[in-house]
Amino acid sequence: MIINTQSLVLLLLCLTGLVVACSSPQPNTQLQDKHPSQGDLGVKPLMCSDCHDAQDQAFSWEQFNHTAFFPTQHRLQANQHQQLCSMCHQRNFCSDCHATRVELKPSLKNQSETFRQMPHRGDYLSRHRIDARIDPTSCFRCHGNPQTAKNCVKCHG
């Protein structure tokens, strides 16, 4: 196996980085059970980075800012930092969307909560034929196994 000089330098840099990382003191990342509620923080809605540094030693807080796009973009954040989500959201919060069988779509079950950006709002039955042609991967993510595809099978077979 031939290792050229560039690969060797890169390997040494990675190893040096790992040694430095392992020997550096780490911030405490053991999270609290509960985050103060919005009522405790004031009457105005806040983003994470309004109180926390956008990036501090423990977390890159700006990536958790609940912008209007967060509901469709939280996969990685929830995946890598589930315990941070659970400081504010109860366990069943995720299950309105992420469950094996959801007979009532989230925007219907929580219809009066219009401030939440929820998928499939209103007349989605008509529009889904277009969105599914354009990007079926977004459908498959939630409707891709035999149980969750039951809603599709009624019409599509």
Binding site: M47, Q57, T100, S112, R121, G122, S126, C139, N145, H156
Partner: protein, 432 residues
């Protein structure tokens, strides 16, 4: 298949009530925190069914959530959540008069250090390439300051309907390396067997890097080990510049690898697994918090394909935020591409007025309006309207909440569809 959903629902109800009884005894015996949330929904609408047209349908739903914390000590807890539905009308709208689902029910041990968690029972696992419900065991823990690990295994709930759960196995795990907030890299693997034959096995890499100038680079890639091809690559940058949040991104999906789920490829997705299609998307999400009250957003996304014709989506939004959950806003979106039957215009206006108890009898009122205009007719109609109104009030220190909503739609599938819903939420327990 569940051949007798009525019996299934009754069994489910009995199971939940039995668990509630056992845990109530537990909670009183060991001074645990016992919390129950009951959400009861009554809906009404009309549908054409096998037995006639404009038949009244009156489904009632019960969503029950149990949380028992500090069983015997601070670390042990039990959590369950499920729903049942019964149609109180004589319509034959639903295949079964009653139905239900146990969404999760697990015992959890949370260790005092290292973010340790051990869960036993029905649960939903989000871990790298996993986004699945299983009846089994999962474990997560930090390994020192620089590594964390998760592992899970059990019977996949999503495959229970295909010849039962015998021979079905789902297992996998994720190993992550992270250094402060500078980076977090995870390598995950998942394998699913159905009736003793492999359905899927995939590996994934998820990563988050903090670059100079407060720029974050995030993304994930998934490789289908059965087809030996990359199923998806999704990567984005996140920049905070003043009050602007900027997120440019790139997505790539290989349909043959993404949709191939072995023997389980079915329904509308089956043909996509052999389409030879590739979807490449470029997009930009922009959010501007102009003031504490006003937030503006813009979204642009282009879709290009190996086989299909391209499409582009653009939307603009504005939201005014008042006190608490009060919001008033709107969104305007347009999908436009080479295929006219994919083009539509979307307009949404909404409001949610919170903390009205001083001015009105109710605590909140909400409304939603949606218009969609289709460039090509769907079932002879090129538009759709949707409107909803809602109101709610809480009683007994928020332990009881009653919400009423009604919605109306006129669209290619339904003429003058009027529906209503009453939601009664009751919370009991020490944590409420």
């Amino acid at each position: 298949m569940h051949t007798c959903c009525g019996s299934y629902s009754r069994l489910l109800l009995r199971t939940i009530y039995a668990q509630a009884l056992v845990l109530a005894i537990f909670s009183f015996s060991f001074a645990a925190d016992f919390n129950v949330t009951s959400e009861t929904l009554f809906r009404s609408f009309e549908r054409d069914t096998k037995s006639g047209s404009d038949e009244l349908v009156l489904p009632g739903y019960e969503y029950l959530k149990l949380d028992v914390d500090r069983i015997t000590n601070q670390s042990l807890s039990f959590h369950a959540y499920g729903w049942v539905r019964h149609d109180f009308s004589d319509s034959s709208y639903y295949p079964e008069e009653s139905d239900g689902e146990l969404i999760y029910a697990y015992l959890e041990y949370a260790g005092p250090k290292h973010n340790q968690s051990l869960r036993l029972g029905r649960q939903h696992v989000f871990s790298g390439v996993a986004n699945d419900a299983l009846d089994g065991l999962s474990f997560t823990s930090d390994l020192g300051d620089l590594f964390s690990v998760s592992a899970y295994g059990g019977l996949p709930v999503g495959l229970a309907d295909t010849a039962g759960q015998s021979g079905d196995v789902l297992w996998g795990g994720r190993l992550a390396h992270h250094y402060r907030s500078f980076y977090n890299i995870g390598l995950s693997y998942q394998k699913v067997d159905n009736d003793d034959s492999a359905v899927t096995s995939k590996v994934g890499i998820d990563s988050a890097f903090l670059l100079p100038m407060n720029v974050g680079l995030y993304g994930n890639s998934v490789r289908n080990m059965e087809t030996e091809g990359w199923a998806e690559h999704v990567y984005w940058l996140h920049l905070l510049v003043g009050n602007f949040s900027i997120r440019p991104y790139y997505e790539m999906f290989e349909y043959d690898d993404y949709f191939d789920a072995g023997a389980l490829s079915g329904g509308p997705f089956a043909s996509l697994a052999h389409s030879g299609e590739t979807l490449d998307s470029l997009g930009l999400d922009l959010s501007w918090q102009q003031s504490p009250d006003w937030t503006f957003g813009a979204k642009a996304k282009s879709y290009s394909y190996e086989v299909n014709e391209t499409s582009n989506f653009l939307s603009l939004s504005a939201t005014w935020s008042g006190d608490y959950l009060t919001r008033v806003g709107g969104e305007l979106g347009k999908m436009k591409g080479d295929a006219a039957d994919n083009d539509y215009l979307l307009v949404r206006l909404f409001f949610y007025l919170d903390h009205l108890a001083d001015k009105l009898w109710v605590d909140f009122v909400s409304g939603d309006g949606l218009y969609t205009g289709y460039d090509q007719e769907i079932y002879g109609q090129d538009y759709a309207y949707f409107a909803s109104l809602g109101a709610g009030k809480t009683f007994i220190d928020d332990a009881l909440q009653i919400k009423l909503s009604a919605d109306y739609s006129k669209d290619p599938y339904f003429d003058n569809d009027l529906r209503s819903m009453l939601t009664v939420t009751c919370r009991f327990g020490a944590g409420q």
